[in-house]
């Protein structure tokens, strides 16, 4: 039923104009320096080439004996786990007495073209794990992987199970072809798009740039929500202009999105061809330096956290981990919300951090 008058329409337009004027006024008063992300105090404790290991400064007495290492992937940056003070997985962990470390892969460029997943997983990540083990005088630590970083931690733990006490993976793809089971059209297009390319196309991108540009990945992600990508800076801004808080949240997310590093070339080929296209991990055919990554070697407790409305990594791709692990202590937390929403939405704050810490407490 259609029920609105021209007068009502004009009133709505007037209200929209008022919001635009208010928003423009707010924007004029905000400087880029006012928009800060990843503000939780931390110190760099280890550098390996461009990779930096940070340790966050504790906010209270430790309640867990073993530290947690947060590992993000090479698509996007770890700062997503600490977007702002009231939306920060890192702060939530610290506030519950967890000793938190995080890996920053830096800004890979053309010179990092030949860096492969072996270098990141068995080199830098393993170096970080060893450093924390040595620093704390312990045999094994807790590791928390996010998205592509979740795959890194799965591979690392499968190759070095003795170094990982508990493994937590969040929004992590395991079966890269499980998207075909999804009934919702808005889910899994990233998988469809990657499979539509030939391996030579991915080689071409890497040949042409030396890496997969961060902007290129951003463009691919924008296809997952085609209209949202078009209305982001116009229609949706009307809602963002509701309040300064909303506007600041939006601008912080924009800052995180703008800081999208390039994906090193050889590692990108492995990620897109061997995993996304050939689905080798779930088939047990994925190798690092010739060593097979056997997920049945994951004998430590495993917690798998996924988002029910994740359009980038559909839940079916993450849930595929369950039958592959070698441990009987396998748990899942299914959270409402989307891919990034797990960490940055107001609703999920507390749920993720508390869920993870409760799970760890039962196992330490």
């Amino acid at each position: 039923m259609l029920k609105f008058s021209a007068e009502q329409y004009l009133k709505e337009m007037a209200e929209s104009n008022r919001r635009i004027a208010d928003g423009a006024k707010m924007l004029a008063q905000i400087k880029d320096d006012d928009v800060q992300i990843a503000t939780t105090p931390k110190e760099a404790v280890l550098r390996q080439d461009k990779t930096t290991l940070y340790r966050y400064l504790p906010t209270r007495e430790p309640s867990l004996r073993l530290p947690v290492l947060v590992v993000y992937g090479l698509i996007g940056r770890y700062t997503m786990a600490d977007l702002q003070e009231d939306r920060s997985l890192i702060r939530n962990l610290l506030n519950q007495g967890v000793d938190v470390y995080a890996v920053d892969w830096g800004n890979p460029g053309r010179a990092d073209r030949w860096q492969s997943l072996e270098d990141y997983i068995d080199g830098y990540l393993d170096g970080c794990v060893d450093f924390i083990r040595a620093r704390h005088g312990i045999d094994a630590i807790n590791v928390l992987g996010i998205c592509e970083g979740g795959v890194f931690t799965l591979c690392h733990a499968a190759l070095h199970p003795e170094k990982v006490k508990n493994l937590i993976v969040t929004i992590t793809p395991v079966d890269f072809h499980a998207d075909v089971e999804e009934e919702r059209i808005e889910r899994g297009f990233l998988n469809v798009w990657t499979r539509s390319l030939d391996a030579e196309d991915i080689d071409r991108i890497v040949d042409a740039f030396g890496y997969v540009p961060g902007q290129f990945m951003g463009m691919v992600f924008s296809m997952l929500t085609p209209v949202k990508s078009l209305t982001k800076y116009n229609v949706d801004m009307l809602d963002v202009f509701d309040s300064e808080d909303k506007l600041m949240n939006f601008l912080r997310m924009e800052k995180w999105l703008a800081d999208r590093p390039h994906h090193p070339g050889e590692a990108a080929k492995q990620w897109l061809i061997e995993l996304y296209q050939q689905n080798r991990l779930v088939k047990g055919e994925f190798t690092l330096d010739g060593r097979p990554v056997d997920l049945s070697r994951l004998t430590m407790p495993v917690l798998n956290v996924y988002a029910l409305d994740d359009h980038i990594i559909p839940p079916s791709c993450s849930k595929a981990l369950a039958p592959l692990v070698g441990t009987k202590d396998y748990s899942e937390i299914a959270l409402p919300g989307g891919h990034v929403g797990v960490f940055v939405s107001g609703k999920s704050q507390g749920i993720v951090g508390k869920g993870i810490v409760d799970w760890l407490r039962e196992r330490c």
Partner: protein, 248 residues
């Protein structure tokens, strides 16, 4: 080959006529609730570019035909000419730089055509969204479909339909193929520019990108070898040795 002015003029005339119709359909300000046809006209008036898009099928179809001189204003023959030149046998010491330039031009032409074909496909998706929205409006009036009691609700409804149409299009083989062609041609063009840049660097004794890639590969392999050696020689964990480790 010449530009098809007759076809272009006919398209332009049709577009102008449709613009006139759309402007005439602007409703006068009234406090009476609108009906479906008024809303449809209002919608058309705000989506003039889509009114233009409605005449695009002819163009979109033509885009897939690279010989159509309207959509390939430089003339389909030029692509053929460049293609033939690029495929001709090369000589050891003759026209090397010219061939590279010609290859780059051919890659640019292919990228432009791939882009036009891809845009044409997206235009069709927008037209389909437009059609579905008008049908929904008429249905809402006829059988009491979803209540649209504000302009914003109407806009959100339109955006939801457009999103659905675009998502459906993106999953078609046609879309995936045109996008692959566009990506491939864009990368080929970029690589052809690199080839030209390497030529310039060679002449002026500047290290080219290929040379730097070789160098970074050598450094990378040395680092890996060093890491493996340190691991083998060390009984304790390496804590990042051999990767430029600096304890902080």
């Amino acid at each position: 080959m010449s530009f098809n002015y007759e076809k272009a003029n006919s398209l332009l005339a049709e577009w102008l006529e449709r613009q006139r119709t759309a402007f005439r359909s602007f409703p006068s300000v009234s406090d009476q609730p609108g009906n479906a046809s008024q809303a449809a006209e209002l919608w058309r008036s705000y989506m003039l570019w889509l009114t233009l898009a409605r005449i695009l099928p002819a163009q979109s179809d033509a885009i897939e035909d690279p010989t159509d001189p309207l959509v390939a204003p430089t003339g389909g023959g030029l692509e053929g000419l460049v293609g033939r030149a690029n495929e001709s046998p090369s000589f050891a010491t003759l026209w090397d730089a010219d061939r590279k330039s010609m290859r780059s031009y051919g890659a640019w032409l292919e990228m432009r055509n791939a882009s036009a074909a891809h845009r044409g496909l997206l235009d069709k998706a927008w037209q389909e969204a437009h059609r579905r929205f008008l049908v929904e409006l008429a249905k809402a009036e006829a059988d009491g479909g979803p209540l649209i009691d504000s302009w914003r609700k109407g806009l959100d409804h339109w955006l939801a339909i457009a999103n659905q149409c675009l998502l459906e299009t993106q999953r078609t083989d046609e879309f995936l193929q045109t996008q692959k062609r566009l990506l491939r041609s864009a990368m080929d063009y970029r690589l052809s520019l690199r080839e030209l840049a390497e030529e310039f660097c060679e002449i002026h004794q500047i290290p080219g990108r290929g040379e730097l890639d070789d160098l970074s590969r050598t450094v990378h392999e040395l680092r890996r070898e060093l890491r493996a050696l340190k691991r083998r020689d060390s009984a304790t964990p390496v804590t990042g040795q051999g990767r430029g480790v600096v304890g902080c």
